[in-house]
Symmetry: C2
Subunit: 138 residues, 2 copies
Amino acid sequence: MFQLHPRLAADTLPLGRLDLCEARLMNDCRFPWVILVPRREGITELHQLGKADQAQLLAESARVAAQLQSLGVEKINLGALGNLVPQLHWHLVGRRRDDPCWPGPAWGCGKSRPWNDADARTLLLRLRRGLGLGEERP
Amino acid sequence: MFQLHPRLAADTLPLGRLDLCEARLMNDCRFPWVILVPRREGITELHQLGKADQAQLLAESARVAAQLQSLGVEKINLGALGNLVPQLHWHLVGRRRDDPCWPGPAWGCGKSRPWNDADARTLLLRLRRGLGLGEERP
């Protein structure tokens, strides 16, 4: 049975449930940064997903990317690393020229800075509305 | 008309021509690192590709990933960043626990170390054979 990896759960805030993926907001206010985790057990590489799941992941990724772009970011950085957390998770990081890691990658750059509650709530609400998701019940 | 971005051309060695993508070996012997560049003009984000092209990119990515895994790497890191070079290019980085950047990302980590000619030739030959490509004529 699919279970979100505890390290991913600890590093993120729940955004919502898409058809294939759990969407989570990375708890780092330096970037609008969403991870998508396909609810499939034991998958560590993108290519282990079936073709339909791959297409669905990209479709959900496009929906999230459009929401991040609506926040005024200049570039979306996509990535699947998994060197520390083997469970396949797909990063979408909204990047701005004035963010503290530009033009380098967000991964491995300095220390994350947790969202404050009010800002997190505002962003999550906006993203959920944009994605057509209801209120998350934790 | 599609033209490989000059910065990508300068940083890589030609690996071969897949149905959709130019495959290039990053000129950095710290990792077996391939980039795939869809031969489509003016594309900067994965989601700008049509759905068939997205599926084709992932299929070509899976073929390359299998070749990288046959080299004995422990993880494939995938990414599309493009903060410096806007032309969409898809990274596949073969990672090992003893590589100089593990477990951090390869992007933005230290200085690249160019391949020597003999090692590059050996690796390119092996990858081309695995991918069913003929000899590259530069």
